[in-house]
Every structure is written in structure tokens, then in C-alpha cells.
Assembly symmetry: C2
Homo-oligomer: 478 residues x 2
Amino acid sequence: MAKDKQVEQITDMEVDFAQWYTDVVKKAELIDYSGVKGFYVVRPYGYALWENIQRAMDDKFKATGHENVSMPVLIPESLLQKEKDHVDGFAPEVAWVTYGGSEELTERLCIRPTSETLFCDHYSRIVRSWRDLPKLYNQWCSVLRWEKATRPFLRHREFLWQEGHTVHATEEEARAETLQMLDVYADIAENWLAMPVIKGQKTEKEKFAGAMDTYSIECMMHDTKALQAGTSHYFGDGFAKAFDITFTDKDNKIQHCHQTSWGASTRLIGGLIMTHGDNSGLVLPPKVAPIQVVIIPIAMHKEGVLERAALLLERLKQAGVRAKLDSSDQSPGWKFAEYEMKGVPLRLEMGPRDIEANQCILAPRAGGEKQTVSLDELETAVETALASIQQGLYDKAKAHLDAHIFPAQTAAEAASIIENKGGFVKAMWCGDVACEEKLKTDHAITSRNIPFEQERIEETCLVCGKPSDTMVIWGIAY
Amino acid sequence: MAKDKQVEQITDMEVDFAQWYTDVVKKAELIDYSGVKGFYVVRPYGYALWENIQRAMDDKFKATGHENVSMPVLIPESLLQKEKDHVDGFAPEVAWVTYGGSEELTERLCIRPTSETLFCDHYSRIVRSWRDLPKLYNQWCSVLRWEKATRPFLRHREFLWQEGHTVHATEEEARAETLQMLDVYADIAENWLAMPVIKGQKTEKEKFAGAMDTYSIECMMHDTKALQAGTSHYFGDGFAKAFDITFTDKDNKIQHCHQTSWGASTRLIGGLIMTHGDNSGLVLPPKVAPIQVVIIPIAMHKEGVLERAALLLERLKQAGVRAKLDSSDQSPGWKFAEYEMKGVPLRLEMGPRDIEANQCILAPRAGGEKQTVSLDELETAVETALASIQQGLYDKAKAHLDAHIFPAQTAAEAASIIENKGGFVKAMWCGDVACEEKLKTDHAITSRNIPFEQERIEETCLVCGKPSDTMVIWGIAY
């Protein structure tokens, strides 16, 4: 451990939420800044968190029939330009390779900002017959977008993500896939990351460049701002026509395919931090925490304490718990603060008197009470405590979300609510992009999505007053 | 399955080994060519193979205390230039990013050809005290080298790999780490990939740019050429001095750190193919095969056949076997050829008469005999068969290696052996790079490594005749 670490130096979130966030990210050793703006080092603790999220997602992708592949990191300029809306959306923010070794390239290559064009190019070569369909592919990689403003996990120029790309024989199948993967994201967010979501469809203005329909899960951070945590797109046959992806159907007719793509990134880690963290640092849900239980021996120099602690470590590992024993020469107080900062869900303390009484103390980082448990029931007690912490974090975040969604009938009311109470506004919208843009220009409020769970707040659009039967969730977004 | 697949179209390896290799890679659906030379799509079957190799390696890295991280994909030109030998080795073959969006960059950024400079930059910021050491980091990513000649898996411009980078308080620890990781590679190659290795040290000429010592594992392919399958480098404190990576030791003195790096890549898949493959296609060792057992029902339309096959699939999956049931409407003959091509280690056939006799047939792809087994003993029989196939592949490859290493006393003899018999030559070398270069210029023979297991073939260098007590393995390399 670095000697100069000072746990007390996290800015309070009530004082400066953005600074609190940066402090947590750095001091919990999730991220280091590199020499290039917007490019970060994801440090071991941050990467272990990502690996746990990855594993949960990858298992679900495979259980739903998806296969992983690896596509090139570079896209020729001519390939990027094949689908018009797509290139318009991404070309302004890509990094261009112009030299290979000492020779200038005859065609510029961009570092992938997303890989639709590469997958389409590949699909156009390998899909021939209805027998080849569907292809359900996913890729774990990093992508580059030359953003102006950057923040750890929330907006990198290079970020880690997964991108699913599928190709189907029919619109019906492709649409079902789009919604299935949105559900997978919602499941991961709610049941692994303890982040409640609002599922819905993006407006025309906010949809992905080249998509016919885009769906998202939207989460509310502790400061009541919105974080888009995952998106799933239905492409129709637009890319298939641009890239000539066709198949011979059972009646021997040539058809264009229908496609989807869907992605989620290390942004989820930013979401975790801002959903659960507090002024002592990170708070991690047990299901994805790199360390679920830290064992801190008390009066470690006394005979038998370390040996007993090591036995508990072994028992927990045997039970499938990600446990760590800190037997370093730092004081228990230092260790308490350190693992609080790192958001370890459960602390196990044990000293000579506990050993004598055949017990230990379990202290949850958040979402539960400290308790003394018999060592005979260690595994069950830890398992129960972790499950209860996981549920507690979700319940708290859900209550926070529910308490900060307000109905509004006019733009002025929406703006006033968001300015004074924060949170999301639910309000009716006529479907006109002009109204959406007016809200953005006048109040910096953007549509999050058109939630699947609709209500009828009012009869008319909050901006123009025209009749409307569509409810939209509005807010300020990361 | 693509209708136009024609298993019989693999070129015989005796006719044209290079063409045989390309055929296998494409027809077994491991690789697709992308629109940019040297950039490949790793298809689901190839990627699943890589995932299995990754998992085996990652488990061993973690068991030896290593942690995964993620470094940026781009390196500023000034950072790449900090260590002189290193930049001389890599600068000529990197890809340069010169534009971010529409703005020209003030400093060129290269896509990482390897990440020593990024790790060193990070270490210089996070290492302060002896308490911070060692740092044992690894990264799974892709790197770029602008090669002229490219071949699937063997030489990509972009390839997937892992790169370990560690920093230690003492030379002794760093040297022990270097050799430990070489042993990990040898273990993976021999016990997972069934590829026997020669462990040894690279000559000065062949060592990594910036390393003090480089060690390698060298394998022999079916055509008796050499494949360097993994390397591990000891850096001394050269990088630490160039990047100012220092720590305060227990006596409160400032010291430079000692470092290592080590890497292995998807090249291992090329090695697998060329070690075990035959004229029917791939042959995969069970431990890394994406499908270990394929179940092919015979007379599938007969009542009960498919249901019984599905039951066997479930039993094998329960037993932890990666099994697949092919119930498509293709003929059994087509399926036999298809899974032979794909190198599936074990085929399980079962038809109505087998069901009546409560048995099935197990047919190894290579390295064993077809046998009839009772369904009561299915799991044990499959497990035994897979273990035996794994061992059989290793034994065959080891016999091939042992039969193709020849002692030589002079350069002419070495050249004649390699030209006429193929294989490796073991011969004494004085240590002079001029002798090494002469062998390369005159005969295209290169030093593979100075094996740890030394013999005394002769008293003098095979080229110059000066006294020598170092035996080197020579050959023609991929």
C-alpha cells in the first residue's frame, strides 16, 4: 500500500459532486491518468471490477446463443462511408491513421469508433443462405471517439466495451433480439450492479447513427442526473442494403437481412460509483465486488490470531466467496478506512476475545447492521449478509429513483422542477424534434427515453401544447 | 452451415504446406480476411479456441499473483522514444495517428506495438516505496506492427496477445519472475496445447529491443520449421532509469527498480494447427478444443434416436465436457467430414442398433482407436478417451521433435542437414554475432535459442572454428 494514502481526503459529495467522483476514482485506485487526454489506465482494482461485470454479461450472452469474435481495430475510410447516416454520426470524432511505419498510406484508416461497418463487411462475405442465419456475434474490445470533454469511466476517448452485432432473416427476429438484449442489460444493471433502470425507446433525435430504432436503459445517479447505461439498436435492412448482405431464403429468393447491434461499456463502473458511493468512498454491490469480504485480524501479534484468520480465509474461499485477509503491519484503523474507501461490501473482524468465544464480527460497508456471528455458522452468515447488502443497495437506489421522478405539464414547470428538486421529469411530448430541441436550448434538458411503462400525465405536449399521447422521461444527462 | 463448403478441398500438406495451412485456417472457419492487409477477423470457432487458451493462461497468471490492467492503445511519440534500444526496435513498424477528428495532432501518437513505455510511465507515477513492490501486471489486448509479409495467426499487423509487465525491488526477484513466466508458457504449450518445447535463452542478436536477456520457448512444426511460441524478458534497470522508476528501500535509500515483460499471442493457434493438423484439416488437443465431443446420431429419423442423443448431450455437459449434438438435416457422412475438418477430438456415433445394445461408438479424430462403449460407462469412457488423445498428440509431436534434431559440427554440415532432412541443428557457437549473421546470410538459418539443456557436440564454433562451450539450436523459423 502506498504510504501516503490519505483516506480522509475525499471531497464531500454535497460540497462538489464532480470532485467527489474524481477523488473516489483516483483514491480507490480504479484509474490513473495517462499522458494523452481522455486515455486512462484502468488499474487492477478497476479492471477486476470490469472482469466481474464482463463475466456476468458474457455468461448471459452465451446462454442466449451468442458467440465472441474479434474484428480489426482499423476501418478504411471508404468502408466507414458506406452507410450515410452512420458516417455522418461518427466521422467527425474518429482518430485517423495516416502512416504505417515510414510510408504514407494511400487510404486513411480510422480507429474503430464502433464496428458496424466491419461486421457488415464480414457478414456480406459469409452469409449466403437461410441456413447461415442468424449470426449472433459479440466482441469485447476498446473503441475510440475523439471527445472534447473527458471524464474517467463516463467519457473516455478510448473506452472498453462490448458490441453485439447480429444478422437475421426477418424483421420480427431482429426486433425480438433487440429487445432481448435490452432485457439482458436491464437484468445486469438491476440484479448485478443494483442499479434500477428505466427501459424505453430513444427519440429520433437521440437514436444511434444508422439505426431505425434505439432502445436504452437509463439510470439515476446520486446527484439525480441521468446515465444512459446500455443501448440496443434495430437497424432494419439499411446496413444490409448498403453492404449488400443478402441470403437465399427457403423459396430460393434473394432477401436482404435484418440487423441489430447493442453495446455497454466501462461507463457502467461510473454508474456504480455514482449510484452507491458515499463520502467514505466506493460502495460496491457484492455480486461484482473484486473483494467481497475483507478479514481484518485484531491484535494480530497475539498468539493464534493470524492462524485463525487464515483458516477463515480458506473456509470463505472454499465457499466460493472472494475473500482477502489483510495481514499487513498497518493498524486495524488504517485498514478499516482503506477497505471502506475501496467499497468492500463486508468486513470481518476477529480478535483474541472473539476467538475465545468462537465468534467473529461482520460489519457491512453499507446497507446493514454490524453483527456478531458464531464461527460454526460463518459461511451461511456471510452468504446471507452479502445477499442482504446486495438487496439493500438496490432498494435504496430504487427509492432514490422513485422519489425523484416528477410529473410536469409545461416546459417551465419541468425546468423549475429539475432546477430546484433535481431528478427526472415525466411529461407528454408531441413527437416533434423542434420541441425537444427547444427544451435542450432553453433548459439543457434532454429526452432520456420513451419508457415502456407509459402514463397519461396530460393531454398535450409540454412545449407546444399540441395533443400528445406519448410520455417521455426528461433530465440532465452525463 | 454454408451449403458450398467442400471438405475435400484442402491441399495436401505434402504438396504445398503453406497452401494446406491457409486452406485449413479458412475452411475450418478460424479466420476471415478483412479489407486491410494483415488485419484479420477471428471467427467464432477461432475465437473460442483463443478463449480456452486465454482462460488456461489467465488462471496461471492469477495463481502466480498477477493482476490484469488496461493501458491506452496509443503512445505519444515522445514516450516511445524514451528508451533508445526499444524505440530503434519498434519505431520503424508502428502505425501513426496524426488526426483526431478534423484537427491535426500536435504530437503523433502510435498504436502500441507493445506497451513497455506505457507501463513504465504508469509505474513511474505509482511506485514510491518498497511497500509498493512488486507490481505484477498483465494486459490482454491487441497490438500493431506494420509487417510487410503477413499470414493468418503467424504474422498479423494486428494480433491478439497478452503482455505481462512487472517491477521488482531486486535483480534476483526480477530474474526469478522472468524464468517463472517462461515455465508458465512451457506448461501451457506442453500440457494444454500438446506442443513440446525447447526452453532457452535468445542470443544478443535475437533478443527483445531494450531487454538485457530474452528467453523463449521454441516449437517444431510439422514441416520441421521452428515457431517461437512465447518470450520472457529481463530488463535490468534500463527502463527504470529511462523512465525514472524509483523506490525508497527499507534503509530509506532511493533505488531503481528491476523489470520484466513476457508475451504470448494468437500465434499459438498457428502453432497448434501446424503441429497437429493433417490432410483432413484441424486436429485439436481436447484441453483447448471448443467442442471436445460431437454427437452424431445415425438414422436420426428413427424413433427415439434424437431423444437418446439429446440425453447423452446432457450427461456429457453435466460431466463438464464441451459437447455438441449435430441434429441438422445433413447426412452423417457430411457431418463426419465437417467435424474432422474442425478437429473435434472425439466423435460419438449412436444409431438404433446401438441404442438397443445400450452402447455408442467413440471415434477419436487422431491419436487413438475407435471403440464401442457401454452407455453405463459413458462419462468415464469419454474422460479416458480425451485424456488419452491429449497424451497421444503430445507423444507424437515429441517424437517428431526428437527425430528432427541433429548435431552438426560445421556450417556446411548444418546447412546440408536442414536442406535435406529439415529439422533443427544443435551445434556449438562462439558467441560472436558475425558467425550468427553469416549463417543467416549464407543459409537462411537462424539461432532459435541457447537451450537450458546443454550438450557438448564439439569443442569449436560451427562457423569460425574458435573454441566454444555454448550449444545453440538452429533452424528455419516462421
